[in-house]
């Protein structure tokens, strides 16, 4: 069965097909949720809520986008809702001048490339992204990390294309700067 057929079966109430969809997408959804929440417990909770919504409203999925894109939208909405509940202090992106430096040294070659085994680097990445507000984090993750188009990212986050671009370049500049700072120490 190809995915289209599995989706159609799931829509018509085939629970086995629904389980297959869950299995096929759980890692993708968990990873994306983790990248935004930065916390295993909240990521798992988001994953459960996301698939709960999928089971409930798969009949509304029209197949115009990929199922993963559709799921990303649910994750993003859930995360934004959670973030708005907690009043958290995030880095203010209004001070755009603070994001750029006067010159850029090319000494990034010394940063180890193998992130998987590097706990120190992971910690730096976690700390940098945690300071970024979820609105920026989601745009960066969808557009740059998951590789969605600017337009798709805009649809998911309900932002215009120029707004996506503006958030994207600020998020990039901010994360770059934080990582740079951590490695200058």
């Amino acid at each position: 069965m190809d995915e289209q057929e599995i989706i159609e079966s799931a829509k018509s109430g085939d629970r086995k097909a629904m389980s297959v969809l869950v299995k096929n997408y759980e890692k993708t959804v968990y990873n994306f949720a983790f990248k935004i929440c930065r916390d295993p417990e909240r990521a798992e909770n988001t994953m459960q809520e996301t698939f709960f919504s999928m089971v409930k409203s798969l009949h509304q999925f029209d197949g115009k986008s990929k199922l993963s894109t559709w799921l990303y939208r649910i994750v993003a909405n859930h995360c934004l809702m959670e973030a708005r509940k907690k009043k958290h202090e995030f880095f203010s992106m209004d001070d755009e001048d603070g994001l750029y430096e006067n010159n850029y040294a090319a000494d990034w070659d010394s940063i180890p490339a193998n992130i998987v085994e590097n706990t120190e680097l992971k910690k730096i990445l976690d700390e940098a992204i945690e300071k970024l507000s979820p609105e920026y984090r989601i745009v960066f993750m969808l557009r740059d990390v998951e590789g969605l188009s600017t337009e798709e990212t805009g649809k998911i986050t309900e932002l215009s294309v120029p707004a996506v671009k503006s958030r994207l370049h600020r998020a990039r500049a901010y994360l770059r700067k934080e990582i740079n700072k951590a490695f200058q120490k």
Partner: protein
């Protein structure tokens, strides 16, 4: 060569791509010209590329039993 003047900050804060934007617009052309010649901007974009790459490679595994908990939560079974 384009006549439009752009600064490094303009280049870093502008994303030229096809959606809703003319890639051959004077502004995008000026940005490309600038990028060809400016080592600072090249370094900037190189480090942004690496930043993105770090986050791409930062994948996590599903916690043990999370799959079972998920199916339980949804009232579905592994088949």
């Amino acid at each position: 060569m384009s006549d439009e003047k752009v600064t490094c900050k303009d280049v870093m804060s502008h994303i030229c791509e096809s959606l809703g934007e003319d890639l051959d617009s004077p502004r995008c052309k000026a940005i490309k010209d600038h990028l060809d010649e400016c080592q600072d901007c090249k370094n900037y974009f190189k480090s942004v590329e690496r930043t993105v790459d770090f986050y791409k490679k930062y994948d996590v595994e599903l916690p043990p039993d999370a799959h079972t908990r998920l199916l339980d939560y949804l009232g579905l079974k592994d088949e």
